[in-house]
Structures are given as C-alpha cells and as structure tokens.
C-alpha cells in the first residue's frame, strides 16, 4: 500500500471470529492483534460491565463468557437486520437478554439489553469493527477510515444495511459490501490463469452459502448462489447441547436453566465438536454440584448422526445452486471449502460425495474470506489488477400487490447492479402520496417474505384518481443494497421516497449512534486502548532488546548505550503514562530509532546466509509494503530476521 492511495482495509465480520486484512501488489495480508503475528482471529464477542458499558472485546471477552453470561454478547451477527419475531429459535439459546425496541413507528428491531443500556446489533458489531480498525491503524501508523466488509451471500437488504450501519457507527466508510463466497473465490483464483468453474461451499458459525463461479482472465462471475442465513456451526453445538440437556434431565431430573451452566455447556459442546474432527470419541463430564456428575463418552458416529439433517440442508441448497447454474457436478472443476465448520469430517465427506471430487482445502478456511476482502480492498484502492467481479442478488425482490401476493420485479440470481421499473398511480382524487411495501423472498405470498420497509412516495401533484403516473425505479447496487427513486411522469417531478425500514435504523439514528459511539469510545475505550498500546510497546521493546543483544556489537558504544537507555526510559514512561496516544507516539519514535540497527542486523544475517533466498523475499516484501512509513517499518523486518 503506497501513500498516494487511500488505505482501504478488508474485514470479515464473522459470527464467531472477525479478521482484518489489506492487500498490496504482493497480495493480501492479515493484520495481527497485539499478541503477535498469529493473533489474527478476533473472537466476535463483547463483554459489558454491570452498568452496561463495554468492558472487553475479543478473546478476553470470550474468556469471561462463562462467568458473566448475561453481559457477554456473542453471535451478534445472527441478530443483524432482524426483528424479535425473526429470532424465536435464538431467544431461548442466547444467554443475554434480547427485546424488541419500543417505538411507535411499528418497526420490529431486536435490541440487546445490558443493565440500563440498550444496544442495537449494529452498535455491538461496531464495537468489534472499531477494534479491528484500531489494529489496522496501529499497523499502518495512521488513521484508517475506509473498509470493505464481507457478508454472507444470502444476507438480505436489511442485513446488508445493518452491516453498513455498523461500519458507519465505527467510523468506517463502507466502500463496498462483498459476499463472503465471492471474496473467498478472489483469494483462491487471483493468481490462477486457467479457466474454471468452481463451487465455494461456505459453512461458518451461523450461516451457510454455496456459490458457483466462473473464473476467466480476471473475471469472477457468480453464476448462482444459494444457502441459509440461519445454519452453521452454532447449530452443530446446539445439537450436542440438546442431547446433554435431555440426558441430564433423564438421569438426574435436573433442568439446566441458569445462564452460567448454559454457557458452560455451550463452551463444552463447541470443544467436543472440535475434538471430534480429529478423534473418534471424546469424554464428556459435567459437574452438576452436590456430588452429581454427568459422564459419558460421545463418538464421532453419534455426532454425525445428529448433524445429518443440518448437513443435508446444505446439500439441498447446493443442488439448487447447481441447477440454477444449469450445470452438473461434472461441470465443476473445483470445490473450495470456506468457514471453520468445514473442518468437520462428515461435512467434507458429504461435499466430496455429491460433487464427486475431493474438495480443495489448501486455504485456511477461517482466513480465506478476510484475505479475499483484502484483495478487493486493494483493487478498490487502485492497486492495479485487471479484475472484474460480477455478482448476483441472492433473493427475489418484489412488491405487495392486491390480495397480499408478491409481484416479482427482480428474480433471485440476477446479475447486479440491476434495476426494474414499475408504474404506480393513485386511488383517490387529490391523493399526494402512495405507499409501497417492498419485499424480498422466494415465496408467493407477502406473509412468507421479508418486508424491507414501506416506501412512501410523497409530493405527487394532486390530480384525479388514476391520473398521476409515478415511475418507480428499484435499483440494486453492487453491494446488493436497494435504492428506490421515483418520478411523476406528467409533471416530470422527482417524487421523494421516504423509507420506514422494517428491521433497520433510520439515517438519523445511525448518525446519533456514531456520535455516541465516539463519545463512549473516548470514555470507555481509552483504558482498553492504553492496555493495547502498552502490550504492543512491550512487544517492541522486547524485540529491540533481543536485537541489541545479538547485533549490538555492530553499533558504536554511544549508539548502543543510547538504545539501552531509551529502552529503559520508555519502559518507565509506559508505567506512568495514561494517554494512549502520547504513548503510541513515543513508541513510534522509538521504532524509528531502531531502524539503523535493524538494517545492520538484516545485512549481517543476509551476509551469513547468502543462500537464504526465501528470507530475502520476505524482508523485501516487508519493506516495500511500508515504503514511506518509517514508523511501522521495524516490526516485520525484525520478525523476518529472527525466523
């Protein structure tokens, strides 16, 4: 990433884990957290204190989930763009409190209640996004304000809007929303030259997508997509939880109701699921107190029997996608597995069976989507590559017609951007507005589809009934988000379109939340941020100490003493300093100071290992990406020397 381009980051905002990446000429790179270069997965978990203020985000929040189930929020992605009525299954399963937001406008918007505070799902997702943004800013050493965020291909308009709102609240301009399987295909196919039709099977924590793509000369063309936004690894866990709950009830007459035990059971089930990917059986032991212990051995076979119906749902979706693409399994040259749940051997076996080929697993299924987002971010930032992404809309778009039927305007799997027009008129003399209920879904009746909102056309010139002709254009943009515009044909006037989203936030609300988040960010997050900066600083200092030890002899005495003194002084300063920004500035100055030594160290190590060509490439790439950004230069250089 060079200076003349805006920095755009790519974010995989996952149900279970989130990641951030960027791309340059060399390809996509993940940005690590404070714990070191392997710290790339940020658990999508936020924990709050009893007053309802953010306490921890990520791994630390997840570690506290068992102790503080009611104030630890996970799987928030399942709530994005949803109403309480959509969430009947989740309400009983999630240990935190979810309520319908009170309001007069008839919106059904799920909110999470923590103490006295209420948070909408975009606000909680924004906390995760802000953490990723901070990681990126620390990496680049300057502010980052633009992002590509991935969503499941099956996300509807409300879910996509909610994701974009989350970005805005976090202070990120979401320049593009990209479908997860499409991102995975980008990461997979960017450097391939052969023409191929591939299937991307993406089973994550909470969602399932199958996309079929044609790859040809830098063109990534989605032929069909299908899936289920409420099917994922979480459901595998729930199958185990349900089994244990039932057996505990049968053996001990105990019902598991307390959030703490529920949470414990969830963690245990998740671990067992992971164990059973490598082993044939796993022991289960749950201490129910007062000497009662539930014990059993669970075999992989038992687990597989339980998840058969779930996996078959994914296979049916695959069948529909292959049919839509007018293909047979023989016409598909590669099946790419994406998402942590594709580590389950039974999933791999079934996919291999139906597609009649061994799936491609060389890419890390948890990282590939973020890497693809990084690729797309670099493309949008202007890093030259002749790539064209042609995606489709996953769901049919329609409007409510007389009698509660769905009048289809844009069928599912239409290439986007796409548009459709429809002419409306008035039913009463002098009527100046018309309401249109816009829906998404594959069913014939309005009640079985999801309403995106009621669009109200206003400012129609008063005329006798049936005379005004209002041309309404429905345009689905490249992000899969709907835009509606309207013109009255006779007057040529643009009618204004007022939207009441069924499950979303209004623009004013997003702006208010953005302000609030910023205010709270400075209050709540300063402490958190300080810890992060201290951790990173300690990491840098430690590396510098090691470098002085190994290569200090290359400096003159005064230079070496100055280094040692600076390390000592900075450590003391870190203990007293409470302003993360000031501390970070000192850290950056320090890193700049270590550059001459780092360069000497590189030369020394290269001199001693001429043949280590691989290493040279690593160092080189490290330096090239950071050109013009002296402050951030040292870290990767040091790493490559040490490896």
């Amino acid at each position: 990433m060079t200076d003349d381009h805006d920095i755009i980051i790519g974010i995989d905002l996952g149900t279970t884990n989130s990641l951030v990446a960027f791309g340059d000429e060399a390809g996509p790179h993940l940005i690590a957290g404070p714990a070191g270069e392997d710290d790339v997965l940020l658990p999508s978990v936020v924990s709050f204190n009893d007053a309802g203020r953010v306490a921890r985000i990520g791994g630390e929040a997840r570690a506290h989930a068992v102790e503080r189930p009611a104030t630890t929020v996970y799987s928030i992605k399942r709530l994005m763009g949803k109403g309480v009525r959509d969430l009947t299954d989740d309400l009983g399963r999630l240990p935190y409190l979810i309520e319908r937001r009170s309001g007069e406008d008839g919106r059904d918007l799920a909110t999470v209640v923590i103490g006295d505070q209420r948070y909408t799902p975009p606000e909680i997702s924004a906390m995760i996004l802000r953490e990723l943004k901070t990681r990126a800013e620390r990496h680049f050493g300057r502010p980052v304000t633009k992002a590509v965020i991935t969503v499941p291909a099956q996300f509807d308009d409300a879910q996509r809007q909610a994701t974009r709102d989350a970005g805005l609240i976090a202070g990120l301009d979401v320049v593009r929303i990209i479908n997860e399987p499409t991102a995975a295909a980008l990461a997979y196919g960017l450097d391939r030259t052969e023409h191929a039709t591939i299937a991307v099977y993406d089973l994550g924590g909470g969602t399932f997508d199958i996309s079929i793509l044609r790859l040809e000369d830098g063109v990534f063309e989605v032929l069909a997509t299908n899936g289920d936004t409420h099917l994922g690894g979480d459901d595998f866990d729930h199958a185990l939880i349900d089994l244990f709950t039932r057996e505990i009830h049968e053996q001990f007459g105990v019902d598991i109701t307390t959030p703490a035990i529920k949470q414990q059971l969830r963690t245990l089930s998740e671990n067992i699921k992971i164990l059973l990917s490598d082993r044939d059986s796993a022991p289960v032991e749950i201490d129910l107190g007062t000497g009662r212990v539930y014990r059993r051995l669970i075999t992989r076979g038992e687990f597989e029997t339980m998840i058969v119906p779930l996996v078959e749902r994914t296979i049916e979706a695959c069948s529909r996608a292959v049919k839509t693409a007018k293909l047979t399994p023989q016409g598909i040259q590669q099946v790419v597995l994406v998402g942590g749940s594709t580590r389950v051997p039974f999933v791999r076996r079934r996919v291999a069976e139906v597609f009649q080929r061994r799936p491609y697993t060389a890419l890390n299924p948890e990282q590939v989507v973020a890497l693809g987002a990084g690729v797309q971010a670099s493309l949008l930032a202007g890093v030259k590559r002749d790539v064209l992404l042609l995606d489709v809309t996953p769901l049919s778009l329609g409007i409510e017609t007389l009698g509660g039927a769905l009048g289809k305007l844009i069928p599912a799997n239409t290439r986007i951007p796409c548009r459709a027009s429809e002419t409306f008129t008035t039913f009463q003399d002098g009527q100046t507005n018309v309401k249109i209920n816009v829906l998404q879904g594959e069913r014939e009746l309005v009640k079985d589809c999801r309403s995106l909102g009621v669009f109200e056309l206003q400012g129609i010139p008063p005329m006798p009934a049936g005379i005004p002709k209002i041309d309404v254009t429905f345009l689905i943009d490249q992000n899969g988000i709907l835009n509606v515009s309207a013109t009255e044909r006779r007057s040529g006037r643009t009618a204004s379109v007022q939207i009441v989203p069924s499950h979303g936030l209004t623009r004013d609300e997003v702006h208010r939340m953005q302000r609030e988040a910023l205010e709270h960010a400075s209050e709540d997050m300063a402490a958190h941020h300080l810890i992060d900066v201290r951790t990173t600083l300690e990491f840098d200092l430690h590396k510098a100490e090691q470098m002085v030890e190994r290569f200090g002899h290359l400096l003159d005495v005064s230079g070496r003493n100055a280094m040692v003194a600076e390390i000592q002084g900075l450590r003391e300063f870190a203990m007293q300093c409470t302003d993360p920004r000031r501390l970070n500035e000192r850290r950056e100055t320090f890193n700049r100071m270590t550059i001459p030594l780092a360069e000497l160290a590189i030369k020394a190590s290269l001199g001693s290992e001429e043949e280590a060509a691989g290493k040279e490439t690593v160092c080189h790439a490290g330096r090239e990406t950071r050109e013009g950004e002296v402050g951030g230069c040292v870290e990767p250089t040091l790493r490559s020397v040490e490896n």
Binding site: V322, K323, V354, L388, L389, T414, P417, R419, L475
Partner: protein, 217 residues
C-alpha cells in the same frame, strides 16, 4: 430508430477515440448517460440481429462491464459513481435479454412494434390441449414413481421446446420485415415457451441424484 441498429455516436466527445458503445470510452474511460435512442444491441456494441455471435456478445459485455463497473469508480465523484451504477444496471439488463435466445427474439419483436405478451396472450392453436394431456401423463408417472416415463416425458418436452425455438429463430431473423400475421405468430410461439419452461422445472432432476446427463438443451 435506424434500421441497422448502429445508432450510436461514432467517436468519444472528449478524446475522439472510436466508441464501441455509447456509454463508455475505452480510451479515456469517460462515462456517458445512455442516449435514449440506443437499444440493447447498441449498448453492447453489437449489430441488431437475431443471429448474434454469442461468444462475441459475451466478450463485448465483459469489456464494457470492465469500463462501467462501479468498483472502478470507488474514489470518483458521487455523480460518476451513481452513473456507473446506473450504466452497469442498464448493461446487465441488456446482456441478460440478448444472451437468452427467447428473450432476444421477444425484444426484437418489441422493437418491430409488437404485439407484446401483455397485448396478446394467445398461444398456438392446439397447444393448450396438448400441454394439458402432457401434464396429466406427467402427473400419472409421478404418482406411479415411474422414473423412466418421467425421463421420456422430459426428453419429449425438450424436443418440442427446441422445435418451437427453431420456428422462433426463423421468424425473428427477419423480424423487421414481418407482416402483422407473422408477428402475431411469433408472439404466440414466444408465449408458449413459458409453458415448456415450467414443465421442465417440474421435471428437473436433482443434479446430485442422477448419473451424468445433460440437464438442458
């Protein structure tokens, strides 16, 4: 509208490079709002004919899509970004219609003056009676779970659909010169295609269940 369908500006107004399509310049990458008289063929830089070279159509589509896709305009002005989105939507719509032989014929009939499906809902003479008989036979085969019979019916429908398509093609190729009677005949044939498509959806086999077999015509 010009009879040859090439009713587009010849050169870019800004850099004077020859234009492939009226909406974007390959030379200076400028975007232009589509002229109201430009039809789908013009948008895609293709001659207005039924017997279109589908490979050429696809490569032309990709070349133009590269130029107008909003991903190219991330850091451009709001105006250009929104124009790119609208042009891409128009281009996609044009390609969706022209790349499908039946929709392409329908579109040529529309250009020639119709009738449209809304104006004339008729199908050819004995067609409905035939379809009803066929439907009954399919239902019987389904009830009896007679997979062989279903496969036979499927092949029969595919064959009849192809025959209809052949007749559509013959008329559509000279669409601009057809008289009223011939245009009505084309309309009836086009209307009947929906019935075949619905039957084929009903008879579609699970791509994972069946042994390798071509799914469509």
């Amino acid at each position: 509208m010009a009879a040859d369908g090439q009713n587009i500006p010849v050169k870019c107004l800004k850099c004077h490079v020859a234009l492939r399509t009226p909406i974007v310049c390959d030379g200076c990458h400028s975007l232009f709002p589509p002229p109201p008289e430009a039809d789908y063929f013009a948008l895609l830089g293709m001659p207005r004919t039924y017997a279109i070279d589908e490979k050429k159509l696809y490569s032309s589509y990709l070349a133009i899509a590269r130029g107008v896709h909003p991903d190219r305009f991330t850091s451009a002005s709001d105006e250009d970004r929104s124009l790119a989105t609208r042009l891409s939507a128009a281009l996609n719509q044009a390609y969706d219609v022209l790349s499908d032989p039946v929709r392409r014929a329908d579109y040529l009939l529309e250009i020639a003056g119709g009738p449209s499906a809304a104006e004339m809902r008729e199908v050819p003479g004995d067609f409905l009676a035939d379809i009803m008989t066929l439907r009954e036979e399919i239902d019987q085969a389904k009830t009896a779970q007679d997979d062989n019979a279903l496969l036979r019916h499927r092949e029969a429908v595919v064959a009849r659909r192809q025959e209809t398509r052949r007749r559509i093609a013959a008329l559509a190729e000279s669409c601009a010169d057809l008289d009223n009677r011939q245009r009505a005949e084309l309309r009836r044939l086009l209307n009947s295609m929906n019935y075949y498509d619905n039957l084929l959806t009903e008879l579609a086999v699970d791509p994972f269940a069946a042994p390798a077999k071509s799914t469509n015509d």
